[in-house]
């Protein structure tokens, strides 16, 4: 993966394939502490303890078409390489919480990349799913909640690429206002 937003896309796709219809993504940048944390919470089907124990093994997957599952192992390896770590918790019927963190200023850290565009592409292509995205830099934060957007703009608005294209610079601008350097 060439940037962090591709990892996030991959991890969120895992949530969607687990049947989630609400995905919460929190990104927290703390420059003074030189730390960035990402948390993804979903309400998908969750994993039992046995599955959870093996979830970040690259040779574990619940798929039947092939035998390698890479997403979690990739982000775990990267977070550790960037001076951080990863925690995963899950419960059947409840959902899954993935939390990882690393040094914000680590020389090897991948840039976040076009995360607004990536997330909005997901939102447009998954009309049955609600997303809550929060981004904090220091003390300042920003939130985008698709439930709120649908109330404001109409239930089908987020399926329109024209609308998504209008939202893209809004979100990018909000991150720039926060002073995000990720």
């Amino acid at each position: 993966m060439e940037d962090l937003s591709l990892h996030l896309l991959d991890l969120v796709e895992n949530s969607l394939n687990a049947g989630a219809n609400l995905v919460e993504i929190d990104i927290d940048e703390q420059p003074l502490a030189d730390r960035m944390t990402v948390t993804i919470n979903d309400n998908g089907k969750g994993m039992d303890a046995q599955t959870l124990a093996r979830a970040s093994d690259p040779f574990f997957t619940t798929r039947t078409t092939r035998r390698i599952g890479l997403g979690l192992s990739l982000i775990k390896a990267n977070a550790e390489a960037w001076g951080g770590g990863m925690e995963l918790s899950s419960a059947p019927g409840v959902g899954t919480r993935l939390h990882f963190w690393f040094q914000l200023g680590h020389i090897d850290r991948q840039p976040l990349g076009d995360w607004p565009g990536t997330l909005l592409g997901l939102i447009m292509s998954r009309p049955g799913v609600e997303f809550v995205y929060r981004h904090r830099v220091g003390e300042n934060d920003f939130e985008m909640d698709t439930r709120e957007l649908r109330r404001e703009l109409g239930p089908e608005a987020l399926q329109s690429p024209a609308v998504v294209n209008l939202l893209r610079p809004q979100v990018r601008g909000a991150l720039d206002e926060l002073g995000s350097t990720a």
Binding site: E13, T65, R66
Partner: protein
Amino acid sequence: MAKLKISDLAKIRDRVHEQINLREDGAQVKITVHMGTCGIASGARDVLNAAMDELDKSGRTDIIITTSGCAGLCSQEPMITVERLNEEPIKYVFVDNAKMRQIFNRHAVEGEVQTQWALAKGSEQ
């Protein structure tokens, strides 16, 4: 807590109204971009972005774009499937930005299968 500005949302709302008025029937075409780890690592995001861009330019409201997990042929990612109503789904392999645009305009919009890039007919595994 910073939010999207009300004036911006109002502008977007006007655009929405314009878009939704055009819709009459349900979706006639569905484009699925496969987004397993292999697809994402191979460039599926660029493919999705290209499809969204062409959909916006086309003004069509009867074409939907969605994503799904791995299609099972990791070595041939990025892959997409185009399904036109009452026709067999067509799977395309090694899709990139330029191919996606041509597939969108020639197959999704005009109905002409781009056989030079097609892998197979048939539904999802």
